[in-house]
């Protein structure tokens, strides 16, 4: 005997104690699929038969069942379930999760149950209990079907129980095996002529009957059209549209989900009482003219339409009014209603029309959702969903989306066939981020390193920085990764030296590296736009772009920052990069000089203060010691030490001073771009660094705001080349320079565990004085014990997250998808790591 159960279902076993439910469940289901009340009694009371624990046991059982149903897993409840109240709770649970409840009754004679219980020493409750169960079951049986079970499988006697076989049935909305490609078409509303044009535009060959009427269409490449519903009403030729679509669906070249208008049409054709409005009158009139036979066909067709489809392995969902993720592939009245009508907030707008619940703004699902229902002037991606109803019948256009290509194809309406109740309005842009997009432990899937985990406490720490200090997330598309220093040098007087950096890359199989001068400024990310319209259009925000620090803070106030953005825009225009890169926005990684342009607070509170205190006190100590020496006291060791410290104090002050220059306006600012991060449709992390530096040089040629980054190529396997690289570093640092960054010349190298450090810094001894303190060279033995490994690991993870953010931006993904990566970088930066590395 075949027992059919839907793919997503709650199977409720019903039978007296001793009827063999557990044995039956174990035979047909995996142990994890079966939730037994006895087991839960044991969990909450340590006694599987403690009836006093039943209430808690069922609480826990329902809780676990709820978790499983939410995940869409078949779940079997192994309890007697002979009482109506118990079953009602389970039915409610199934409904809550929009899965179908199925009852399986094990109808075993009372004496067999009693006999079986007798063999089990733990069941000493005797025949009376079994008798009660059986009688309750008897009373329940006639009503089970009406209680809300989708199917009731009644197994009479042991023989039927033994013969039963479960057959899992796919839900009818489950077309995951259909992989397309698809052409998903928005609301047609009786606009047959436009539909024919659109199909032709999409490459379909329209078939016609003897009368010249379109009765089908097929694509030479076997593509499938998918209609989002609302084929009917309002427009001039609803029968023509239906004839064409019914032909396509019949021939298997199209799929169609029901719209609310089809649903209502069916009711009207059935003779139910419906209000004839919103264009239904025209449809009924047109159908009358098309004849009763055709009308009957239409009724059958519309009545058979599903409310939504899950396609292409679950990656694509089509529903007339859209569908939140927890409804995908589910079946219930609620799911159907949402798919047909959407949800409303309970408010009405100034035209008296209901305000739609903005489910798409909150949508965070993996599947693309395509829908119609609410006409918009232009299509727009909202968190991976798109409304394709561009109001053809209202004089807009008829739109299709090619899937998986994500290409839009549309044809204009021939005329305004029907006056809209209110003007078409753009969907509210989904730029609001949800707390759940960033808070808590998070796992971000990156292309370069797979899953990257963000700890909950790090995210909590980053939330404050991001909320209170960072620039608007719509502008904040990237945060640069931290950079690890080279392994520690053992050379006298040095903590860092290029040899270790070169050897490190050689060890990773990177032969050619580029050494770039480390600028004495602040890390800056520059987002420039081609003109003022790009911000609102592409990023949903007014403005010309953004210039922010490595923690996302704006560099300057609006006036100065705005001026810099305009300069950047002109330079990019002059360099011809907009057209060359095919974009109207450009994201650059750069260094901004001088350091004090942003860091004055840090410099004065820490560096200058230390300099002031040390240069005030140490010379005085030296002269006191000189006076003591003149008196013939032996303080020579202390004098030598103090003189050295005094000299170090002045060297320390000199070291930070090199980074500072008065800033009174934009002309005192220099920006050294060293990497093009992203543009529309492209990232550049696989282009060699020389390309990036050459691009930066073109900006410099266009505007002296931009400055070049001096660099050298080094072959780490060639001793002469290495020596050349070392000599260059010595030259840079002898002049007081910060040092250099060594990067794989080819740019991103390796992936996963083999992902090479994107860059390694080799800082000069005078710069390190600022970081490690005036006298750090006296303590090198202690300072050499430093843990670079953790910083290196962090650097590659942040790099992978950064590249992921860029890839998502370039691909035009939803803001929250970009922001989760950007936020993750900031969260990682709150790791407690030696800040001197």
């Amino acid at each position: 005997m075949e027992l059919r159960i839907p793919d997503m279902s709650l199977v409720v076993l019903i039978g007296a104690s001793g009827s063999g439910k557990s044995t039956f469940a174990a035979k047909h289901f995996r142990p994890t699929q079966v939730l037994s009340s006895d087991f839960f009694r044991g969990l909450v009371s340590d006694d599987e038969n403690d009836q006093a624990a039943s209430r808690d046991a069922f609480d826990a059982l329902h809780y676990v069942a709820g978790k499983r149903l939410r995940a869409g897993l078949v779940t079997v409840v192994d309890a007697t379930n002979v009482q109506k109240e118990g079953r009602a709770q389970l039915i409610r649970l199934a409904r809550e999760h929009n899965v179908l409840p199925v009852a399986v009754v094990l109808d075993i004679p009372e004496r067999d149950c009693v006999e079986r219980n007798a063999t089990r020493p733990d069941r000493d409750f005797g025949a009376r209990v079994v008798r009660r169960h059986v009688s309750e079951l008897r009373r329940s049986l006639p009503h089970l079907a009406r209680e809300g079970f989708r199917d009731v499988h009644h197994l009479r006697g042991q023989e039927q129980v033994d013969a039963a076989v479960f057959v899992r049935e796919r839900l009818r909305n489950d077309l995951r095996d259909r992989t397309g490609p698809f052409d998903v078409i928005g609301d047609v509303h009786g606009c047959r002529a436009e539909l024919e044009e659109l199909l032709a535009e999409l490459g379909y060959a329209v078939e016609r009957d003897a009368a010249g009427r379109a009765v089908g269409a097929a694509h030479p490449l076997g593509r499938t059209a998918v209609f989002v519903g609302d084929l009917v009403d309002r427009g001039p030729d609803t029968p023509g549209v239906l004839r064409l679509v019914m032909g396509m669906v019949g021939a298997g070249t199209a799929l169609c989900v029901s719209g609310n208008h089809e649903f209502k049409l069916v009711k009207a054709l059935r003779g139910n009482k419906v209000t004839i409005r919103h264009g239904l009158a025209e449809t009924l009139e047109q159908l009358r003219a098309a004849g009763p036979e055709f009308t009957a066909e239409v009724r059958r067709f519309c009545d058979g339409l599903r409310a939504h489809y899950v396609l292409d392995g679950g990656d694509l969902v089509v529903a007339h009014a859209g569908l939140p993720e927890h409804y995908h592939g589910r079946a219930s009245g609620r799911v159907r209603s949402f798919a047909l009508y959407g949800d409303t907030t309970g408010e009405t707008d100034e035209y008296g029309l209901p305000v739609r619940y903005p489910w798409a703004e909150e949508y965070r699902g993996r599947a693309m959702v395509l829908y119609g229902h609410t006409p918009v002037p232009e299509v727009e991606w909202v968190n991976g969903t798109m409304c394709l109803d561009t109001g053809c019948v209202f004089g807009g256009k008829l739109t299709a989306l090619r899937y998986p290509e994500r290409e839009i194809v549309d044809v204009p309406a021939h005329e305004t066939h029907y006056e809209p109740t209110r003007p078409l309005r753009p969907a509210r842009a989904a730029r609001q981020l949800a707390l759940t997009d960033v808070l808590g432990k998070r796992v971000v899937e990156t292309g370069l390193m797979g899953k990257v985990t963000i700890r909950e406490d790090r995210a909590a720490a980053a939330l404050e920085v991001m909320s209170r200090f960072a620039t608007d997330p719509r502008w904040l598309l990237y945060l640069p990764p931290t950079m690890a220093p080279t392994e520690t040098s053992a050379l006298p007087g040095l903590l860092e030296h290029p040899v270790e950096a070169f050897a490190g890359y050689a060890g990773q199989g990177v032969r050619e590296v580029v050494c770039e001068e480390k600028h004495m400024g602040s890390r800056a990310v520059l987002l420039a736009t081609r003109d003022a319209s790009v911000g609102p259009r592409r990023f949903g925000i007014e403005g010309d772009g953004a210039l922010h620090t490595r923690t996302g803070r704006p560099f300057f106030d609006d006036a100065l920052g705005g001026e810099l953005l305009l300069r950047a825009r002109s330079a990019i225009t002059a360099a011809g990069l907009w057209d060359e890169l095919g974009t109207d926005w450009l994201l650059l990684d750069a260094e901004l000089m001088p350091w004090n342009a942003k860091a004055t607070g840090l410099i004065t509170s820490t560096y200058a203060a230390t300099g002031a205190a040390s240069t005030a006190s140490l010379p005085a100590a030296v002269s006191a010691l000189h006076a003591a020496t003149a008196r013939g006291l032996d303080v020579s060791a202390l004098l030598d030490r103090t003189s050295a410290r005094s000299a170090n104090a002045f060297a320390y002050r000199d070291a930070y001073r090199r980074y500072c220059a008065p800033v009174s306006g934009v002309d005192d600012i220099r920006i050294a771009p060293f990497q093009v991060l992203a543009a529309e449709g492209s990232t550049f992390h696989t282009r060699p660094h020389l390309w990036h530096l050459d691009t930066a040089d073109r900006l410099r040629a266009a505007d002296p705001l931009f400055t070049l980054t001096r660099h050298r190529l080094v072959d780490v396997t060639d001793p002469a080349s290495v020596a050349d690289g070392v000599a260059w570093w010595e030259e840079l640092t002898a002049a007081g320079g910060e040092g250099m960054v060594v990067k794989p010349a080819a740019n991103q190298t390796g992936a996963g565990r083999g992902l090479a450090q994107p860059g390694v810094k080799v800082r000069g001894p005078e710069y390190l004085r600022i970081i490690y303190g005036p006298d750090y060279q006296r303590h090198l033995d202690v300072l050499r014990v430093r843990n670079v490994a953790h910083k290196r690991s962090l650097a590659v993870r942040e790099y992978a997250l950064g590249v992921e953010a860029l890839s998502r931006v370039a691909a035009g993904e939803a803001l929250w998808r970009v922001h989760e990566c950007v936020f993750a970088v900031l969260a990682m930066e709150s790791e407690p790591i030696d800040p001197r590395l």
């Binding site: 408010e347 909150e362 609001q432 981020l433 949800a434 707390l435 759940t436 997009d437 960033v438 406490d457 909590a460 720490a461 939330l463 404050e464 909320s467 209170r468 608007d472 004055t600 410099i603 004065t604 509170s605 820490t606 560096y607 200058a608 203060a609 230390t610 300099g611 002031a612 205190a613 040390s614 005030a616 006190s617 140490l618 010379p619 005085a620 100590a621 006191a624 010691l625 006076a627 003591a628 008196r631 013939g632 006291l633 202390l638 103090t642 104090a649 002050r653 001073r657 600022i770 970081i771 490690y772 303190g773 005036p774 303590h779 300072l783 709150s830 407690p832 790591i833 800040p835 001197r836």
Partner: protein
């Protein structure tokens, strides 16, 4: 860091006897803060100068310091502590010249008991409060103060002055008194101690200050700063000092807190609570609850059945949560705190009767206010929203607030009454709320109240 002390007492070399340190014998002492060297740059009949040079090992300083769980910043490694005279030098002073501080003079007790001409030089004395503070501290004790602020960096005059003074004190005092005063006032000028203080600090203060502090006009300030503003310790110290002085116990230490602040905050909380009660709100959100001052006040009031405090700062919430944990069960069951952010949509904040944002909006960048508006008036959408913010017009009435200055470093803006009304009106219009305005604090006829409150009510509510 260096301190020199000079006398022109005759014979000046008596100084070395009083200090118990031989003028021709440089000495070094290991102390808990580093190695203290004592030597005499000059020692003759006319003039004698002793130098105390404290050498601090900055590496050891950084290692021994701080909470290991806290993220260290660069300034935990590189800072002024090895150079600027402050609490560390005070510790060294106590260790090296401890006997002299007691006033014992050995064979020269008469010299020890008498005032002598003294000149103290500190080339880099940490002093948060500048020359004026040094004068307030030392002048009442009989010192002539010659002080100049050290510039942060002479090459960058625009950075201004550092917190260090090139300080010279000249006076006729008993040596023991001079040393005790320095012992107490060095950390007081600095305003921070290099270690965590405990109750033994009260003893130290009373011991070193007993002879001169009770009558000092800045006694309260000195006690508060010496004891790191730990109120319980400060109160104990002041009581004990008053007993020494036989003067009435002083009022609580609020010396450095502007008198206006605390009452206004309390008035604000009171007004907000009264408004919430008048609105009949039962379930209330405290958005930006900080450490929970308002939250706890609301929790105590049974008119509110559920009070949820959220804040973006995990650190502030930890403190709020600790305070909530101490509440009795009955009260605690009504309160919850959790982290959230007003620039992200948080669906768990939906469905409340009222939300209050007390002194919150002015901490949000103007560019992010629309995100806050969406999160509060869109996503959370309570029946009522109460927003308080400073009225910048009233700043003119605050003494000690420079013209054009804002009340807090982190304020991104402070609005006039008209600006607040304009913003509030826009929000109400866009979000379907009505709004009315309530002054908080004394309503000045020209400048208005110090705080302004807007009460938004959802139109259909």
């Amino acid at each position: 860091m260096l301190l020199t002390l000079t006398t022109t007492h005759t014979p000046a070399t008596d100084l070395s006897h009083l200090l118990f340190k031989h003028p021709d014998n440089p000495q070094s002492f290991d102390t808990s803060v580093g190695v203290a060297h004592v030597f005499y740059p000059r020692a003759d009949e006319d003039e004698c100068t002793v130098a105390l040079l404290l050498e601090v090992d900055p590496v050891a300083l950084a290692r021994g310091k701080g909470d290991k769980r806290q993220t260290r910043t660069l300034s935990s490694y590189v800072n002024d502590r090895p150079y600027a005279a402050g609490s560390m030098l005070s510790v060294a002073l106590g260790k090296v010249f401890g006997t002299a501080m007691t006033g014992r003079g050995g064979q020269r007790q008469q010299v020890a008991d008498a005032a002598m001409p003294l000149r103290v030089a500190l080339p880099a004395a940490a002093c948060r409060g500048g020359v004026a503070l040094a004068e307030r501290l030392f002048t009442p004790l009989g010192w002539a103060v010659e002080a100049a602020a050290v510039p942060l960096d002479p090459e960058f005059p625009e950075w201004g002055e550092s917190d260090y003074l090139d300080l010279v004190l000249i006076g006729r005092l008993r040596l023991a008194d001079a040393l005790r005063q320095l012992y107490v006032l060095l950390p007081v000028m600095d305003g921070s101690k290099h270690y965590r203080i405990d109750e033994s600090e009260v003893d130290k203060l009373v011991r070193a200050g007993g002879s001169w502090l009770p009558a000092h006009p800045e006694r309260d300030l000195i006690s508060a700063r010496y004891l790191d503003h730990r109120h319980a310790y400060v109160a104990t110290a002041l009581d004990r000092l008053s007993e020494l002085d036989a003067s009435p116990p002083p009022a609580q230490d609020e010396a450095e807190v502007p008198a206006e602040r605390t009452p206004l905050a309390a008035v604000r909380r009171q007004v907000v609570r009264d408004e919430l009660r008048a609105l009949g709100a039962r379930r209330v959100l405290d958005l930006g609850c900080g450490r929970g001052a308002l939250l706890l006040q609301l929790a105590e009031d049974p008119a509110f059945t559920e009070v949820v405090g959220v804040d973006v700062s995990a650190a502030a919430l930890r403190i709020a949560a600790k305070r909530v944990d101490k509440l009795p069960d009955r009260v605690r069951s009504r309160v919850a705190v959790r982290q959230s952010s007003l620039v992200y949509g948080d669906a768990t904040l939906a469905g409340y009767d009222a939300a209050v944002l007390v002194e919150v909006v002015e901490h949000i960048d103007p560019g992010r206010l629309p995100a806050m508006e969406q999160a509060v008036f869109g996503t959370a959408r309570p029946a009522h929203v109460l927003v308080t913010t400073p009225n910048v017009e009233h700043n003119a009435l605050f003494e000690g607030l420079a013209e054009g200055a804002l009340r807090h470093d982190d304020h991104r803006f402070e609005w006039t009454r008209a600006q607040f009304r304009e913003w509030a009106g826009g929000v109400a219009e866009r979000s379907g709320y009505t709004v009315r305005h309530v002054p908080i604090g004394p309503d000045d006829p020209v400048h208005g109240p110090p705080t302004q409150l807007a009460v938004f009510s959802r139109a259909e509510a």
